[in-house]
């Protein structure tokens, strides 16, 4: 601060001189805007302040002193005003900082998160299979869980004395002994074939996937459940052979497990197909190099399949001399357990949220 020269100061009352001397330290002790406003009132307020009293003194001063004194007074006033303005801006900035800190959200605190949910892993796998087959023109067919022997066994060329028909393997209803809980999704085949038989020539063929719940009389243990899921697939056309089955499933496994997934067919037997086969896929975990899941073989069994048995077509009213096709069926739990290395089947039905959260997802 520029000090007025001593000559001019001597013209001022003593208290004014002291006020001049005190201003700097008074200003620096103002730590709030309120304090600063009080200081402002004392030094440069409209009435009674040092500056207004200086102005009064200037008015009363002898004419010859006015020039000198005026310069001093104006200098002082400007000095005070400027210094106060600077201090005010400092204090205002500080207050703003404090206010904004008060309102600020600490970004490292946990934010409120939207609730997480998930689709069941078994449903996800079935949905994924539907997604895999949609580009091939397969749609979804479904059937009831309570079925007749006709659809569950007869229509599938399963012999009348087949053990699967016994009450040790299949659940039957007490009051309707002709009704049972379907033991596979294959009765959907029978229903669809029968329904479409009359218009098959017009349609030109059949392609569908049948995911669903099935029941077998197995005690609950780490690898068995009296209810589980299957995904069945079927195609009917003209001139369909094993090469078409292989081509379709090879595509599906690549779509499901990635382009490296190789498949291998082995002969097998199911009453409703001929020829029948089982398909292995390159172990999705080790990629074929051998691990615990594939017991070192590099391959895991993934599904059963075959060309539709001519009797199945015939029973549905379709001429096997003209039409042919293939069918395949996959155990959903088995595949889910294999892919996820879930050690116990019961986890899928226990519905513990910790399991569902980790194993599920939204698609």
């Amino acid at each position: 601060m520029t000090q007025p020269d001593a000559n001019a100061l001597s013209l001022l009352p003593t208290e004014m001189v002291e006020a001049c001397d005190d201003f700097s330290s008074a200003l620096s002790t103002c730590s709030t805007l309120d304090e600063l406003n009080r200081l402002k009132g004392i030094y440069i307020g409209r009435e009674g302040s040092f500056s207004s009293r200086l102005m009064d003194a200037l008015k009363k001063a002898p004419k010859e002193q006015k020039r000198n004194l005026g310069a001093v007074v104006n200098g002082l006033k400007k000095t005070w005003e400027d210094a106060i303005k600077v201090r005010q801006s400092e204090l205002e900035t500080a207050k703003q900082h404090l206010d904004s800190a008060k309102n600020a959200w600490d970004a490292t605190l946990p934010p409120p998160t939207p609730p997480t949910g998930a689709l069941h892993p078994l449903n996800r796998l079935m949905d994924r299979l539907v997604d895999v087959f949609r580009p091939l023109g397969y749609h979804v067919e479904e059937g009831p869980e309570v079925e007749t022997e006709e659809h569950n066994f007869d229509g599938l060329n399963i012999p009348e004395d087949h053990p699967a028909r016994g009450t040790a393997d299949t659940f039957y209803l007490a009051q309707h002994s002709e009704l049972l809980l379907r033991t596979h999704t294959s009765p959907v085949q029978v229903r669809v074939l029968k329904r479409l038989a009359p218009e098959l020539e017009k349609k030109g063929g059949i392609r569908f996937l049948a995911p669903g719940r099935v029941y077998r009389k197995d005690e609950i243990d780490p690898t068995h459940s009296p209810m589980f899921h299957q995904v069945e697939g079927m195609l009917v056309g003209k001139g369909i052979g094993m090469h078409h089955l292989k081509g379709t499933l090879a595509y599906a496994m690549k779509a499901l497990f990635g382009p490296e997934a190789d498949v291998r067919f082995r002969p097998s037997y199911f009453p409703f197909v001929e020829p029948g086969c089982e398909m292995d896929v390159h172990c999705p975990l080790c990629g074929g190099s051998g691990c615990r899941v594939c017991k070192g073989s590099g391959w895991v069994e993934i599904l059963g399949a075959g060309l539709i048995h001519p009797n199945v077509l015939r029973i549905a009213g379709i001429d096997p001399e003209i039409w042919s096709g293939f069918a395949f069926g996959m155990g959903v739990e088995r595949t889910a357990m294999m892919v996820s290395q879930t050690p116990d089947l019961r986890l899928f039905f226990e519905n513990d949220q910790r399991f569902l959260q980790v194993m599920g997802g939204l698609d």
């Binding site: 946990p110 998160t113 609730p115 997480t116 949910g117 998930a118 069941h120 078994l122 449903n123 949905d127 023109g137 749609h139 979804v140 009831p144 869980e145 004395d161 053990p163 016994g166 659940f171 039957y172 209803l173 007490a174 009704l179 809980l181 349609k203 030109g204 063929g205 029941y215 005690e219 009296p226 056309g237 003209k238 369909i240 052979g241 094993m242 090469h243 078409h244 292989k246 081509g247 090879a250 082995r266 002969p267 097998s268 037997y269 020829p275 089982e278 069994e301 060309l307 048995h309 001519p310 042919s324 899928f348 039905f349 226990e350 519905n351 513990d352 949220q353 910790r354 569902l356 939204l362």
Partner: protein, 637 residues
């Protein structure tokens, strides 16, 4: 089925050079995956999974025969000294078609008998211990080696001649396992004058069993109808090595051979002397000739295989084949009961060539693709919506206990009850998903979950006179407490209204029930949930771009006045005005209100197709207030 590698190699010596791993792969490629390999006293033992249609492979020779056909090799010859047949020493009468052939022989045993150590080890490695009775052990060894079951009776315990017939009603037999069994008229038995002495193809009887004191044996090597044996095994729950083989179809041409082999073993192991051998009946005809055309062969194979190649492979399997350039006729061998259709022959051709060689081609597109069914898409849409709202999809069993069912179901459990459930607690096809979800919620709470949000979409079963009807159903449970996991969201128990809100988000309505432990639960039929619009994007509906006017009314209302009543009354009072929204945004039930009252903050939002004037809105609000007053709702002072 367990197979000794050693014994397999004896039947097909050429495979001795093949590594165990390659051999296992080879067997698997024929359709018989290896479940495991163990080291036995007799060398490695393979656990081979034989498919149900292939009874002929259920022996060392049987599998070796399939391998020989695959590899184009020859089996070891069977060392056989055929018995000369003569007159029957004991009469054998075949009264049932189910037993068309019965070969037998009578032998007198020497003073000493011993089963060779090799054979004991062989049997032990297959999990079957030797009895040190030559007739029993030899029969057992032959079964595993050649697949044809035989039996030996103590000839001195027989009473009169032998008859193969169906059992008489009320007839009983005590089998070798010391179980007394009640026979039915569908059970085929071997009988003597005393009654049934064996269950045909299953097990011998206790009364004629061979023991240390047996001096003379009568051998049985017959052929029984597979269907009859299967039915008996199932009826009596008696599944034996013999029933597995006769039940899947034994080779009738093996009947005499097995008898001769058994007799030869008794001569060697027990210094037995042949008293006589004879056979009753004829070999049944197995396998009619099958015609296979080149078209079918190539259609199934997916490549231009020639009839000659097919004929060659079928011939290796033992088929008698006649061929021309466009088709062949193959008569299956007596051991292949499973070959009846031309498709079966193609499978055999492909199996021997190896399924690996089948080409891989996508099928031609014959039919038009179809869209996914609306019902299927609706279910998936709801599941995805609920999952994104924070709920976990569950999968639970379709049956529950009668008590759990009765608490929620809308129909009687009669008609939905299983005749042969796994247990009482799984005996009713559930009429509601809620018992299962309640159980799952309780499990999660017990496991320490603070908040449980579960849903399931599955059929529920509803009794009708024709059996259960299935209705696609959605159930949701919400339990525990919400919030409190971050500084901004306050915690509190799950309120039923929250579940109502979730349901509203699906466009559905339902009665929320509070179950024990504060579990909020709701169930709705999927048909009661509006399907998403058929159009991908719904029809355009205009909206006002003029400013809306919002007015709040703070009302003191009697506690027993439902909001819906008030809302209807106000809406009626301001009919014709552009009221867009009328809702309650706050409830106050604290101090300062008259007894039996609460305060509601109602919000009315008006918006029209022009700018609204303050005065007209005031008038509408005044009408609203007047109608509220008629329901004893007063402006809060």
């Amino acid at each position: 089925m367990l197979l000794s590698l050693n014994a397999l190699q004896q039947e097909l010596p050429a495979i001795a050079e093949t590594s165990l791993k390659d051999l296992c792969e080879l067997i698997a490629s024929l359709g018989f995956p290896i479940d495991g390999v163990e080291q036995g006293e007799h060398g490695p033992v393979l656990d081979v999974d034989i498919t149900a249609n292939r009874g002929d492979v259920m022996s060392h020779r049987g599998l070796a025969r399939d391998l020989a056909a695959k590899l184009g090799l020859d089996l070891s010859p069977v060392e056989l000294d055929p018995l000369e047949e003569g007159d029957a020493l004991v009469s054998v009468r075949l009264e049932a078609d189910a037993c068309p052939l019965y070969s037998t022989a009578m032998l007198t045993l020497g003073a000493l008998q011993s089963t060779p150590e090799e054979v004991k080890k062989f049997l032990a490695s297959l999990g079957s211990s030797a009895k040190d009775l030559a007739a029993v052990d030899a029969s057992n060894e032959l079964l595993h080696r050649y697949g044809h079951p035989t039996h030996a009776f103590d000839a001195d315990k027989l009473q009169g001649g032998i008859v193969v017939r169906y059992a008489k009603a009320g007839e009983k037999i005590t089998t070798l396992d010391s179980v007394e069994r009640n026979l039915t008229e569908k059970d085929l038995v071997i009988a003597d004058d005393s009654g049934a002495i064996a269950m045909a193809g299953l097990m011998g009887g206790d009364s004629t069993k061979v023991d240390m004191d047996t001096r003379r044996v009568l051998l049985e090597s017959a052929w029984f109808e597979p269907r009859v044996v299967r039915a008996m095994a199932r009826r009596h729950g008696l599944h034996t090595d013999a029933s597995h083989r006769f039940g899947r179809g034994a080779d009738p041409s093996m009947a005499r051979i097995a008898r001769d082999l058994l007799a030869a073993r008794l001569k060697n192991w027990a210094w037995a002397a042949l008293d006589g051998a004879w056979t009753e009946g004829q070999e049944p005809a197995i396998g009619k000739p099958i015609n296979l055309t080149k078209d079918l062969l190539q259609r199934i194979a997916g490549e231009p295989l020639s009839i000659e190649d097919a004929a060659l492979l079928l011939n290796r399997l033992g088929c008698v084949v006649e061929e021309n350039t466009s088709s062949l006729q193959a008569a299956p061998p007596t051991w292949r009961h499973d070959l009846t259709l031309p498709e079966d022959l193609v499978e055999e051709v492909l199996r021997l060539r190896g399924y690996d060689l089948i080409p891989s081609v996508l099928p031609p597109v014959g039919s038009d693709p179809e869209p996914l069914a609306a019902e299927y898409q609706q279910r998936h849409g709801i599941a995805r919506r609920l999952a994104s709202l924070g709920f976990y999809q569950t999968v639970t069993l379709g049956f529950v206990s009668p008590e759990a069912d009765a608490e929620f179901a809308d129909t009687s459990a009669e008609g939905r009850t299983l005749g042969n459930p796994l247990g009482y607690e799984f005996s009713v096809l559930r009429g509601s998903l809620l018992p299962s979800l309640q159980h799952a919620a309780e499990h999660n709470l017990r496991q320490g979950a603070r908040e449980v949000r579960l849903f399931e979409i599955a059929p529920t079963f509803h009794s009708t006179s024709n059996g259960p009807e299935e209705h696609s159903t959605l159930s949701i449970v919400w339990a525990g407490e919400t919030g409190g996991l971050d500084p901004m969201t306050s915690r509190g128990p799950v309120h039923p209204a929250a579940l109502q809100g979730v349901l509203a988000a699906l466009g559905a309505q339902g009665e929320v029930r509070t179950l024990e432990g504060g579990i909020q639960a709701v169930e709705v039929a999927l048909t009661d949930i509006p399907a998403s619009p058929e159009r991908v994007i719904p029809t355009f509906k205009g909206f006002s771009r003029f400013p809306s006017v919002e007015r709040d009314l703070s009302l003191v209302v009697p506690l027993d006045l439902p909001f819906a009543h008030l809302k209807t009354a106000i809406q009626a009072a301001v009919t014709g005005t552009p009221l867009q929204t009328l809702t309650c945004v706050d409830i106050y039930r604290g101090k300062g209100l008259p007894e039996g009252h609460q305060a509601w903050l109602l919000r009315l939002i008006f918006q029209g197709d022009r700018t609204l004037m303050g005065e007209e809105v005031d008038a509408w609000v005044a009408s609203a207030l007047e109608s509220a007053r008629s329901l004893k709702a007063e402006l809060r002072g």
